[in-house]
């Protein structure tokens, strides 16, 4: 019944898509479409939560669709339910935001039909229970999001972004296709049930792992397959960017978990090394890329890459512990990863909403032309600040909890018997810590340059606070960030069935623990209580403030900035995003991006201004993608010569083929 309801939601959304095509022109289209999406995603989220909390048994049903003799299998188990809840929540928020924000859309006809279809596709991926249905929904998801990225197609950059995205998505899907082909075997046991029962051999499993890493990783944005992500996510309308970054990447994670922890069976220990290494590199690279950006939405997109890395670190640890038969530790790591899935979807959507609000208010994505918005759009600024604090893993917000859990999982790893992991895990831990610190730095930059200081452009001066519904969406997410941060125990308990299904154990129940604090293993070992920390900070902060205001002075005088005595009113003298990032660029960038700075200092007496030029290289792109493209072009050029043969030469091709085949016949036994 519940499952039918989920499918009903998907069906409704598809229907809405068709409806949108029909009424796309009219003004009522936007509220109607997004309203219906709002309802559908709320329902599916509710179903997910209910199924998860009730801990009910997996539901499944078969529809006479898809591969004819197989039918389309659908199944709602704990894992699907959890991700369904996350996706539903994300799309709910996005739809709410879009209800307000969608009014500013200049090409609604190119967004409205694809938006619901996109949501439907994501829901279908989560409940699909056979390879064909899964891949159809998966690729349909890519296709619809491609169309959404293409929405503002008059900008050539967007067209290019969409193209790169589509090709990468196709690449990933084909990899998954091969993976499923491997698991299903030559006579096509496509149903997940059959795949589960058919136990894959070790080598086969390894191949599947690599293919799954390529397939799901390219969708999630795992370095080095991330290249499309920072291009495509920002190009889409902001509610879609939020969906793609905050939600679709999670669907990719779901795909990986489904394949590796559910379908393929017991893992080999070294798989985890691959996953861990990739995760660590992704986390650090992602945040370093982000630091070098001054396009607000692209910066956020790169942070998605970073967070995906963190999630994969968690998954890798879970894999390692599972392979070595340490279910409790595996449960801890898995919980950390899954909790971070939720957290990231929360604050990344929030941040993209904020960026979208800024974009519509100023028409600018370039931070160097923003600034001072905190005075013009205070509420947006506040929500965005909460998001920044959360993604920077600051207590008492939610980002910290999942990273804390990941650290706790890392601290259990010395018990692992295999040496490789023992050497790798601490390094990964260092990478995790590094990425966390850099993320904080990056969001000081993001918030400081965008919202604080003085406006750097007329557009920034004219900014106005965004509409109510968009704000409602942002504050909803901000509050959720805080709630997850202060009462993580509830969510950890809710995750228990999912984790148990994945690794065969669960974390100790957190509800029994007094004061709502969380205890991964044992209280003597480690514990954390977000609520208490939160209360402490609030109390001591207000205490200090009130005390000072009462006992000492509360007088205040506005004056020009002091700035060591020579303030300059022109916003040009402000610190810009790139100048803010300069120290870190010098520390890390010189190695990672071959960052070079050149200063042209004119000779004394020369009145030309001095120039500082910075050059960065996207190493991954140049090492991986450039060669591929050039190879394709080379092949295309060479083969293209064959278009220009004469008829006689074509005939001689036929003739040659004939002679060769006849010759083959003579030697054929």
């Amino acid at each position: 019944m519940t499952l039918a309801l989920v499918l009903g939601c998907a069906g409704l959304l598809l229907g809405v898509a068709v409806l949108a095509v029909a009424i796309g022109r009219s003004a009522a289209a936007t509220p109607v479409v997004y309203g219906l999406c709002l309802v559908a995603s709320l329902v599916s989220c509710a179903i997910g939560v209910q199924h998860l909390l009730a801990g009910s048994a997996p539901l499944s049903r078969v529809l006479p669709l898809g591969v004819p003799w197989l039918g389309a299998h659908f199944r709602l188990d704990a894992l699907s339910a959890y991700f369904l809840a996350v996706v539903g929540l994300g799309s709910f928020a996005a739809s709410l935001f879009a209800l307000g924000h969608g009014e500013h859309e200049e090409a609604p006809g190119r967004v409205l039909p694809f938006y619901p279809a996109f949501l439907a596709a994501m829901i279908l991926v989560l409940v699909a229970d056979d390879a064909f249905t899964f891949l159809v929904s998966w690729e349909f998801m890519s296709l619809t999001s491609w169309a959404l990225v293409m929405a503002h197609h008059r900008n050539p950059d967007n067209v290019r972004a969409a193209y790169v995205y589509l090709v990468m998505a196709g690449f990933g899907t084909l990899a998954l296709l091969l993976a499923f082909g491997l698991m299903a075997g030559p006579d096509g046991g496509y149903a997940f049930m059959e795949i589960r029962n058919a136990h894959a051999s070790a080598g086969l499993g390894a191949l599947v792992l690599i293919l799954a890493l390529i397939g799901a990783g390219s969708k999630a944005g795992l370095v080095p397959l991330h290249a499309w992500l920072p291009l495509a996510h920002p190009a889409a309308p902001s509610q879609v960017s939020a969906l793609m970054s905050g939600v679709m990447t999670k669907v990719a994670i779901y795909g990986f978990v489904r394949i590796i922890f559910d379908l393929i069976g017991p893992p080999a220990w070294w798989w985890s090394m691959l996953v861990l290494a990739l995760g660590g590199v992704t986390a650090v690279m992602g945040v370093l890329y982000a630091l070098m950006q001054h396009d607000l939405k692209r910066l956020l997109a790169y942070h998605t890459v970073e967070n995906i890395g963190i999630i994969f670190i968690g998954l890798g640890l879970a894999l390692a512990f599972k392979a070595h038969g340490m279910p409790l530790a595996a449960a801890l790591a898995m919980t950390a990863a899954l909790l971070h899935v939720l957290n990231h979807s929360l604050f990344k959507s929030l941040l993209f909403f904020g960026a979208g609000a800024v974009l519509t208010a100023t028409g600018e994505r370039d931070m160097e032309r923003l600034g001072g918005l905190i005075r013009l759009m205070p509420q947006t600024a506040f929500a965005f600040l909460v998001g920044c604090a959360a993604i920077s893993a600051l207590p008492p917000l939610n980002g910290f909890v999942s990273e804390w859990l990941t650290f706790q999982a890392i601290l259990l790893s010395p018990r692992l018997p295999s040496w490789g992991l023992r050497l790798l895990v601490p390094a990964v831990g260092a990478m995790l810590a590094l990425s966390a610190a850099l993320a904080a730095a990056c969001f000081v930059k993001a918030f400081g340059v965008t919202f604080q200081g003085r406006p750097r452009s007329p557009a920034a001066e004219r900014a106005r606070e965004t509409d109510r519904l968009s704000l409602a969406a942002m504050f909803l997410l901000a509050v959720l960030c805080l709630i997850v941060g202060v009462t993580p125990g509830l969510f950890i308990d809710a995750l228990a069935p999912v984790v148990h299904a994945a690794v065969g154990a669960r974390m100790p129940a957190q509800l029994g623990v007094p004061w709502l604090s969380i205890v991964p293993i044992a209280e003597s070992r480690s514990s954390y209580n977000g609520l208490l920390v939160f209360l402490f900070m609030v109390i001591s902060g207000t205490l200090a403030a009130s005390a000072i205001h009462r006992l000492a002075s509360d007088r205040l005088r506005r004056a020009p900035a002091w700035d060591c005595g020579y303030p300059d009113p022109s916003p040009l003298t402000e610190y810009t995003a790139s100048s803010f990032a300069q120290p870190i660029r010098r520390v890390f960038g010189t190695v990672v991006f071959h960052a070079r700075e050149r200063v042209e200092m004119p000779t004394p007496g020369d009145i030309r201004p001095a120039r500082l030029s910075v050059s960065l290289h996207d190493v991954v792109w140049e090492a991986l993608y450039k060669p591929v493209t050039s190879a394709v072009n080379f092949a295309a050029d060479r083969l293209n010569a064959l278009q220009f043969l004469t008829i006689r030469q074509f005939l001689s091709l036929v003739f040659g083929a004939l002679v060769i085949l006849l010759g083959a016949l003579t030697i054929w036994p």
Partner: protein
């Protein structure tokens, strides 16, 4: 009574051709063309329900039944499209009424030839029919009488007739192989008796025969390196003919190839035709995929994509096995529907923009939304993206291959990916970005295009059980 249906499928087009050859005036002849095609389609449909027993010359079985219906259906929709298309060509004066009569007559003759090739129970008859089809299309390709058109037709003619000769030689060899077993005379060419006794034929003779048939009919299929005529013929002829060529004639030739593959498969000592087809298929796929990147002419672009898909289909049948064969049949159907739909779209686009140069058309989804999105949908379908039918067939091919022949599957996937990349690269230029290029008003009938695309879309998620059982049965026959 039941035999009439088969005969009718052949007679209606012939009669129509005769009438159309006489008939002056565009309006009437175009309508008549449509009506005749519709009538043929309906009679073909009736074959599903009462199937006549196989005769000496004609037969209808599971394999060709689906193809007849498909052929007549696409023939019908194409005639609808061609009505509006040719109308515009007359206005712009690219075609004179004299050639128009010729065109309509030839169109029906082509229909006749293809139906004959499909229902023929006699390998000689099948050969005759396919040659007839080839020659008609040669004439239609040259109909514009421009330098390029003549050259394309000439090239098509030369390569085609060499193909004719090779195929005939193959046919003769098959007869020679059958003669000692079945005895002299007509029986030794009747399909049903051939397939029944194939196991006793002389394998060596069969092998040589298959080589010739593969090259002969393979030329029609457009497999690399026999493909050379195909792109130019598609590019220079009238678009309805391009649609029929890609959508139907290639299928018919492939159908002939399949028949003989079955013959070889039935003989244990003969060489396995699979590897040959797999090799040529992969060659065609990869080659065509890379050729797509440098195309400047939109019709030539999709002609190459036809080569690519013929490659995939040949690969699938070459791999064999129930899954792959099923996928191959499905892909044949899906491709002919999709590709003809694409050519409908392209034809109108070319009329609207007044050129076939990709560089000179842009932003189609802005300037002509219906047409533009139709084209986008078509390309999405032909690129094998879900939820459209081509995805299911590619899914089946890849998954069923990878478990058996990993490396082949990887080459296949590589080719497909390269093709997708090229197609969308070109599509970006045509459908998106700032609209530019001329924007003439062309009265277009979008019904055929969307009818095809709707069918493909439905097939992607749901296929009627009857069709499935037919396909599965045929897949078993193909071994």
């Amino acid at each position: 009574m039941s035999f009439d249906a088969v005969a009718a499928v052949l007679i209606i087009p012939l009669a129509a051709a005769a009438v159309l050859a006489m008939l002056p005036g565009y309006w009437l002849s175009a309508r008549l063309n449509v009506i005749a095609a519709l009538a043929t389609f309906l009679t073909a449909l009736s074959l599903f329900f009462n199937r006549p027993p196989a005769g000496l010359y004609l037969q209808v079985d599971d394999l060709n039944n689906v193809f007849i219906v498909l052929t007549t259906f696409v023939g019908f929709t194409t005639s609808v499209f061609s009505a509006s298309y040719i109308g515009h060509e007359l206005e712009t004066g690219r075609l004179t009424p004299r050639f128009l009569r010729f065109y309509h007559a030839m169109y029906q003759v082509l229909m006749f030839a293809m139906n004959l090739a499909l229902v023929a129970n006699n390998i000689g008859l099948m050969w005759v029919a396919i040659e007839l089809a080839t020659l008609t299309t040669v004439l239609m390709v040259g109909i514009y009488r421009t330098h390029e058109a003549l050259e394309a037709a000439w090239k098509y003619f030369i390569l085609g007739s060499v193909g004719i000769a090779l195929a005939l030689f193959g046919t003769i060899l098959v007869y020679m192989a059958a003669m000692p077993v079945i005895g002299e005379g007509l029986d030794a060419m009747v399909w049903t008796s051939l397939i029944a006794r194939a196991s006793q034929f002389d394998p060596a003779l069969l092998n040589v025969a298959f080589v010739f048939l593969l090259l002969g009919y393979g030329t029609k299929v457009g497999l690399v390196p026999l493909h050379a005529w195909l792109p130019d013929a598609h590019a220079e002829g009238p678009t309805p003919i391009s649609a029929v060529l890609s959508g139907l004639l290639l299928n018919v030739a492939l159908y002939a190839l399949l028949r003989f593959k079955m013959l070889l498969a039935a003989n244990p000592d003969a060489l396995a035709p699979g590897p040959l087809m797999v090799t040529m298929g992969l060659m065609s796929l990869v080659f065509a995929a890379f050729m797509l990147y440098r195309r400047r002419d939109i019709k030539r672009l999709f002609a190459y994509s036809s080569i690519e898909h013929m490659g995939i289909i040949a690969f699938a049948f070459g791999m064999g096995g129930p899954l792959a064969n099923f996928a191959g049949l499905l892909h044949m159907t899906m491709h002919s529907l999709t590709k003809s739909a694409i050519f409908f779209a392209v034809g109108h686009a070319a009329q609207v923009k007044g050129t076939q140069q990709i560089a000179k058309m842009g932003g189609l989804t802005e300037s002509n939304p219906v047409l533009g999105w139709g084209l986008v949908l078509g390309v999405v379908a032909i690129a094998g993206l879900p939820p459209l039918g081509t995805f299911m067939s590619e899914f089946l091919v890849v998954t069923s291959t990878f478990a058996r022949e990993p490396w082949l599957a990887i080459i296949l996937v590589f080719g497909i990916l390269a093709g997708v990349g090229a197609l969308f690269l070109q599509l970006n230029g045509v459908a998106f970005g700032e609209p530019h290029g001329a924007n003439a008003e062309a009265k277009a009938s979008y019904a055929p295009m969307f009818a095809h695309l709707a069918l493909v879309a439905v097939a992607g998620v749901y296929m009627p059980p009857a069709l499935v059982s037919w396909f599965q049965h045929v897949a078993k026959l193909l071994g």
